[in-house]
């Protein structure tokens, strides 16, 4: 069984491993026909070449990271507030509003991209990191609110009652008492928001039409499609490595939270 497991593991890791290895070959060797298996020298030249595209790789990392950061912050703040509200308070139409927020889970965002594009153009947020992040927040909110409501639901009420007797206000309750207790949920929501924002392709392709505002996946597609001349395979592998490495590192460190989100959705959904 171990043998099967190891063979499969090699197959699963192979494409990523090969791409990273190729990014470290010399540019000539990375484009060699037929391809070589192992690099004859290890060098960062492909990364230097990658940096010569468009506005430089730093700019595109900044774009992707900026959008992801705004998405994470926006999603976490809105989801935490709403999750607290739905979990601990009764108010008219609360169930209806909750269902409305979850409805976006059932409607694929591809189907409303056209009006979103017009909306963003109308408020001058097309080609803007904030505009793209707003679109991403919209599609992270259903999962975020659902996750946070469930997280608040399992915090014992006795803790709040004790804090209330100590004269804690509703706002203080959330910021001083509850936030610490729901931190696992917040991390789960943040991990999903980051990965989905960092990796998203279609909305970024539609909204970011100016080269300087491209996110990493859009930049790489331009490199690949020969937008900058002949395809530089070494630079492309360097770009792919830069794009997937943060995702893998984040996942390896926060795997527990990621899986919790998946299981929570599977059990409750």
């Amino acid at each position: 069984m171990y043998v099967v497991g190891i063979v499969l593991a090699v197959l699963f890791l192979f494409p990523i491993f090969w791409s990273t290895l190729t990014s470290l070959k010399s540019p000539a060797e990375a484009s060699a026909v037929p391809p070589t298996y192992l690099p004859s020298v290890l060098t960062f030249e492909n990364y230097v070449k990658l940096n010569q595209y468009g506005a430089g790789i730093a700019r595109y990392i900044f774009n992707s990271a900026g959008v992801a950061l705004i998405t994470v912050l926006g999603t976490v703040v809105l989801s935490t507030l709403a999750g607290y509200g739905f979990s601990r308070f009764r108010f008219p139409a609360s169930n209806l509003l909750f269902l409305m927020l979850l409805a976006a889970l059932m409607i694929p965002f591809q189907s409303i991209l056209t009006p979103l594009f017009l909306l963003m153009s109308a408020v001058k947020l097309q080609n803007s990191l904030i505009g793209l992040a707003l679109v991403y927040i919209t599609f992270q909110l259903p999962f975020g609110v659902f996750m946070m409501r469930n997280t608040f639901d399992v915090v014992p009420r006795e803790i709040e009652e004790a804090a209330l007797l100590d004269g804690c206000s509703t706002w203080q309750m959330l910021t001083r008492v509850m936030l610490v207790l729901v931190r696992p949920g917040i991390i789960t929501v943040a991990v999903y928001a980051f990965l989905n924002s960092w990796n998203e392709f279609l909305a970024a392709l539609i909204l970011m039409t100016q080269e300087v505002n491209f996110t990493l996946p859009i930049l790489l597609t331009s490199v690949r499609s020969g937008y900058y001349g002949a395809i530089d395979w070494g630079a492309l592998q360097a770009g792919i490595t830069v794009t997937i490495l943060p995702c893998i590192v984040l996942f390896l460190f926060l795997q527990r939270y990621y899986m919790q989100g998946l299981m929570g959705g599977a059990v409750k959904g």
């Binding site: 494409p15 409805a103 976006a104 189907s111 409303i112 056209t114 679109v135 893998i248």
Partner: protein, 307 residues
Amino acid sequence: MAAVFTPTKAARRGMGTLSQRRMVAGFLFVLPAVLFTVAMFIFPLLMTGWMSLHNWPLLGQATFLGIQNYVAMVQDSQFWASLWFTTQYTLLVTPPIFILAFLLALLVNSALRGIGIFRTIYFIPVVIGLGTSSLLWVWLLNDRVGILNGILLDLGWIQQPVIWLVDKNLAMTAIVVSIVWKTVGFSMILLLAGMQAVPDELYQAAEVDGASYWQRLWYILLPLLRSTFALALVLSVIGSYLAFDQFYIMTRGGPQNQTITAVYWIFNNSFTYYKLGYGAALSIGLLVILGLLSVLQLRVLRDDTTY
């Protein structure tokens, strides 16, 4: 005594206003998310419907068309070709994902030491972007620099490099393989969660009764996994029906528009030809189809089991 009564009295006196205040507080907590959703989701959704009734160019005045866009949609042969292609793709990609996901879930559900590492490894492709993984596969499959052809040549399985992405059937095969690699870990984890929810007593009882491993698998585990399968299947099928990135990047819809998926056709109409009204009508059409598909799948796989 007085010390005990005072807080209760105060609480009782303030009860009406307190619960009202909590009502307002609760509403205020959910308000930002609600407003955001109304502005960025409900409004665009309604607008999709409204736009679908118009000739809506990118610049200039929209003109009301009534249901003409929908009439055009029914007569649009590329729309039907795209839907059929998307259906073919979904039918081809779903079985390998589920068969492999089930086997992987069985493997990582075993009690072997260090099995968690394998689970993590099989899941890694899920967390990288579909756009990025498609680019990665474009390179792996390339006939000149791609390592896949290199390996197949060195093994002697092929005599000359295969140009994977310019023939419809070869491209479909290659894309299916790349998507199975990318997404199988996701279904694996859902199935694993389902397997772990099955009580051990059921297995033990069956084992005592002399059921073999495969019998236990077939008669106990599979029936109990119905609802998990239903969920994983709905998610996977909807994901396949919305396919865009892999075809946009790997085949660019070619050759001769033969690998244009439904979302790709919407994208072309809205953002290449700027027929925004027609693109909206196509979106509504796709939404209806997806809704029907989900209902159908959930009905077929409805689960009445309790344990």
